[in-house]
Amino acid sequence: MSRLKISTPNQAQLTVERLYKDLERHIIASPPGLCPIDLQLSFLKTCHAQTCGKCVPCRVGILQLSHLLEDVLENRADMRTLDLIEETANNITDSADCAIGYEAAHMVLAGLDGFRDDYLYHIEHGKCSYSITQPVPCVALCPAGVDIPGYIALVGEERYADAVRLIRKDNPFPTACALICEHPCEARCRRNMIDSSVNIRGLKKMAVDNARANTVPVPQKAESTGKKIAIVGGGPGGLSAAYYLELMGHHAVVFESKSKLGGMLRYGIPNYRFPRERLEEDIEAILSTGVEVHTSVTVGNEEDTVSFEQLRKDYDAVYIAIGAHTDKKIGIDGEDSEGVISAVEMLRGIGDDNPPDFKDKRVIVVGGGNVAMDCTRSAIRLGAKSVGIAYRRRQEDMTALPEEVEGAIAEGAELYSLKAPHRIEADENGRVAAIWVEPQIIGPIDAWGRAKPVKADVELVRIPCDIVVVAIGQGIESRHFEESGIPIKRGMLDAMSESGVRDVPGVFAGGDCVTGLATVIRAIAAGKVAAANIDEYLGYHHTISCDVEIPQVTYGDKLPCGRINLCEREACERRNDFDAIEYSMTRQEAAQEAGRCLRCDHFGYGNLKGGRAAIW
């Protein structure tokens, strides 16, 4: 008789394990716009299936909570039902033995608080206020609403120029987004339900690599209206607005304070991620519409500047898209030492072909966002002896894209995680000698689900270095606009979601200067919205459309198939120069990846509500 045995999962257990994974992916790909109470109920049923059945509050309480939620959904509830839900959930929280019970109840309580209005709506109206407005998940999540299934199908047929034309209907920066978009479109890609999201950005790169944007002519412009619009800022937002306004027949005049156009695309994003000549391709195409450009002209009240009031007088409308180009300070001792440099300053220098001298220096970058990674990887390329990243949380808490962090580490950066900057030590000449950091332990989860660092009970750590790059966020230079009567909210220009500025007719604002540092696609989207609403403001109803015919769907079975990721140059090679690091897909790869698209524009709800906005 054996006393112990090795347990091996049986077929059923293995299947269930796989189903857990399937469900996880299903939830990731949850379509935007679902009824939160209906979802809450289905989560609750899952929780109930997990109960061991010993304790009353969990075994019976969760069941009764499900019934009560059904009552809400089936129009059988009143305000007393809500009270009873709360009471019952509290009872489970207070008395369930284990997390299966009390965490299930926590979810219900969080919902009662977080979407109470939806509970009330159901009770008062007997229906749900939610609906699915954009049926295609990738398009729904693209701020600019680019016709993603459309251009994927075109890339699949190797119609690259048509893909560029189609993208341009909603986004005049196809190259920029092909190379550096954060691709929110991929987050809820329905393909996740089968295996993983389609590599949307990779397919867009395939399009612009094979049909350079400056070789694809822009569409015909509408008849001239004689209206002139001043655009303050020649970044992605300003140029997007300028592009569409020109297509609509207006004349866009861009004022850019720096010597070259591109904004953050030039002065924020390093060449190895977005080569300058590729940026020029987008800009060249945009300018081919007739946009007038004045570089090295600042809008302000000082000498050699043009004032905002003057622009308002001289132009029929003004769009402010100045971005967020001022740096934020950490606020620690020694921050004014020689050798402390802001991320903005560093990347601007590189953008103007005047990079800082990091040769053989020891560099520490403070921060955990994408800008911090850009600084880190640029410092390596500038010949620094060593580059470290000091970050007060853990690697997985960084806001930078994981591939950026991994890329930096692969290129030789040292990650000092859980190290909060404490002070900067200077030598007798006032030059940086070291940064002192305060070790942290990761602590409680905050309201947003993020773990907070807490000071650890250990000594400060000294990291010797010659340069400290501060990359902890950016602000905007709003003073001149504030003085000119533009409202300011939390340091940002206060514009409405239609991009107009309240009580200041004819003035529109958007992009980073309104939202704070965000993504290029959001700036582009803001430019698109501004163009449409400026057109309306001027009394026109011009529309933007694209006559590219989208390939019809194919009927192949959608069998599970891995996602093709883009390859990069070897880390040991690429770290030595600023040349582009990412390769295109091969045609074979692109054909397979495009074939993974489920064509939600045709199958499912897209079919009923229209899979695309062919015109705006």
Partner: protein, 566 residues
């Protein structure tokens, strides 16, 4: 051309053809339920599925185009199983009380279930319910809705009013009035196009037939019935009547058989409408020319509702003339009541209309000239008339011909064509020219305003003055027109709008023939009646002349204003 094989038969069709049409081209009729050509091709019911050789997943044939070399089967074991199961699933949520359904015998779901021989289902029956105001001119029965989305699509794509939408999400998804409104709060025009395109009994008119029986049973009531022009072109479709017997006279005979006391004709009051509206137009012409904004017809209540909710700033541009239904009601309860020496409350005024919006129009508070209550008491749709005749076991083919009664029964050809898009315009022009030029034109002079296009523009010269006319049917076309008018992209003098595509012959109260737009079949019947009328001008209708001579004075007189205008 794309070459493929369907059920072992070679098929060759143009690129872009759907599988369903490709199959139909060789006589293979794939069963379908939610599909409505050009309007609803969404593959929702999954009844029209076919199997493609070499593929696991079935394909919906209604909305997927053919591919070169594809090999398809419309009746493979898998297709048979899936088609049947999907119908069973739909039935599990459908209130299958067919014996008590207005669409029994004319229901797509009933037909497909019968065709597939489904006599029981293995699923739990869960029929949804939802509240609805049953006094509203039409009824939505959630228990019969199969969520095919046709109503959503008709209202979005054809009528451009967006009254219906998908409601709720996930498992509770259903179809309901959009923006979480109830129907009374919505901008619904009551055109009824959603009703005539519903594949089941989920949408139907309010049933007012019982009111008729009450009135007939009341010895105190004199029942006076009027029949709209377009009704005569459609009433016989589902009465088992050969074309040559489907006459106006037989329709009158059938109504006589029901037992109505007086059988009159809305064509008569259509002529009256023309008298008022043509004269009103001539009075307003100078101002119309000066403002550049046209006068719009007002006889279609769905269009009037549309105008009031969507373009309220243009309300004053509507003709003040009431619709023929309401002019009839006003005259019946005054002139006619006096003629037969009774008080208005003794008269029960009934109308038979191709329309659901007429039920709403009759109930408007301003439609009460006598102070005794509504001028029109009961409004039946053509479909309700058919049900009334069937309930009375009337078999029209066994009846002879009869004629409308006097003094509200005679009509000109101009009145007849009210039932088709362009008819009001044509009739009005016939009379307007006669008034200005002093002699009748050839009645066919204005036939250019006829046609099936959603919007037609014709300019005529009356006494040298150009009259720019525009004729529109379908509310989607009406919206485009109004946007053009508002943005001054067009300039007209007189505009006729009918809410239903093709005009009243395609009305929301007409018999339903699934998948077929019947307006173009019915319109020629009205034009034929016009041609065969001896009187072709409203102003030459002797009963109209007598009404003015004896009672109203002349068009646009004070009395006419009081009774016939709003």
């Amino acid at each position: 051309m794309v070459n493929l094989t369907i059920d072992n038969r070679p098929v060759s069709v143009p690129e872009g053809t759907t599988i369903m049409r490709a199959a139909a081209s060789v006589g293979i009729m794939i069963p379908h339920l939610c599909y409505l050509e050009g309007i609803n091709e969404i593959g929702a019911c999954k009844v029209c599925v076919v199997e493609m050789q070499g593929k696991t997943k079935l394909i919906t044939s209604c909305n997927n185009p053919v591919e070169e070399g594809m090999v398809l089967y419309t009746n493979s074991p898998k297709v048979r199983r899936v088609r049947r199961t999907n119908v069973e699933l739909i039935l599990s949520q459908h209130d299958c009380t067919c014996a008590m359904c207005v669409r029994s015998g004319n229901c797509n779901l009933q037909k497909i279930a019968n065709d597939l021989g489904i006599i029981e289902i293995p699923y739990k029956k869960e029929v949804p319910t939802a509240p609805w105001d049953h006094s509203y001119p039409f009824i939505k029965d959630a228990g019969k809705c199969i969520k095919c989305m046709r109503c959503v699509q008709i209202c979005d794509k054809v009528q451009d009013l967006h009254i219906w939408d998908v409601q709720n999400t996930g498992s509770r998804t259903t179809v309901d009035v959009s923006m979480n409104k109830c129907i009374e709060e919505s901008d619904c025009s009551n055109c009824g196009q959603c009703v005539t395109h519903c594949p089941t009994g989920a949408l139907r008119e309010r049933n007012d037939v019982p009111e008729i029986f009450k009135a007939l049973a009341d010895p105190e009531k004199i029942t006076v019935v009027q029949v709209a022009p377009a009704v005569r072109a459609a009433w016989a479709e589902q009465m088992d009547l050969p074309e040559e017997l489907a006459t106006e006279g037989r329709m009158v005979a059938a109504l006589r058989q029901v037992g109505f006391d007086y059988i009159f004709d809305t064509n008569f009051s259509a002529d009256l409408t023309i008298m008022e509206e043509a004269h009103e137009f001539l009075e307003r012409l100078e101002e119309v020319k000066a403002s550049g904004v046209p006068m719009f017809t007002s006889c279609c209540p769905a269009w009037v509702r549309f105008m009031k909710s969507q373009y309220p700033d243009y309300r004053s541009r509507l003709s003040s003339a009431k619709s023929p239904q309401q002019m009839f009601g006003a005259v019946a309860k005054t002139y006619f009541a006096e003629k037969i020496g009774v008080t208005p409350d003794k008269i029960c005024c009934i109308s038979v209309m191709p329309c659901i919006a007429k039920k709403g129009e009759a109930a408007l508070p301003e439609m009460d000239v006598t102070g005794y209550g509504p001028d029109v008491d009961i409004v039946l749709t053509t479909r309700e008339l058919v049900r009334l005749l069937k309930a009375e076991h009337i078999i029209p083919k066994l009846l002879g011909e009869d004629t409308f009664d006097s003094p509200l029964g005679e009509s000109s050809g101009a009145g007849v064509i009210f039932g088709v898009t362009g008819g009001v315009m044509e009739a009005a022009l016939r009379t307007a020219v006669a008034v200005i030029e002093g002699s009748n034109p050839n009645p066919e002079t204005f036939s250019d305003v006829r046609g099936e296009a959603g919007r037609r523009e014709v300019t005529y010269h009356i006494n040298g003055v150009p009259i720019r006319t525009c004729t529109v049917s379908g509310l989607g076309n009406a919206r485009k027109l109004m946007e053009d008018v508002r943005n001054r992209r067009v300039s007209y003098d007189f505009v006729e709008v009918m809410a239903c595509p093709g005009g009243c012959v395609g009305g929301g109260g007409q018999p339903i023939v699934d998948g077929v737009e019947m307006a173009s079949v019915r319109a020629p019947k009205l034009y034929d009646l016009d041609k065969r009328r001896t009187v072709r001008f409203s102003h030459e209708n002797p009963e109209i002349k007598k009404l003015y001579a004896d009672y109203l004075g002349k068009p646009m007189s004070e009395k006419a204003h009081k009774l016939l205008h709003v």
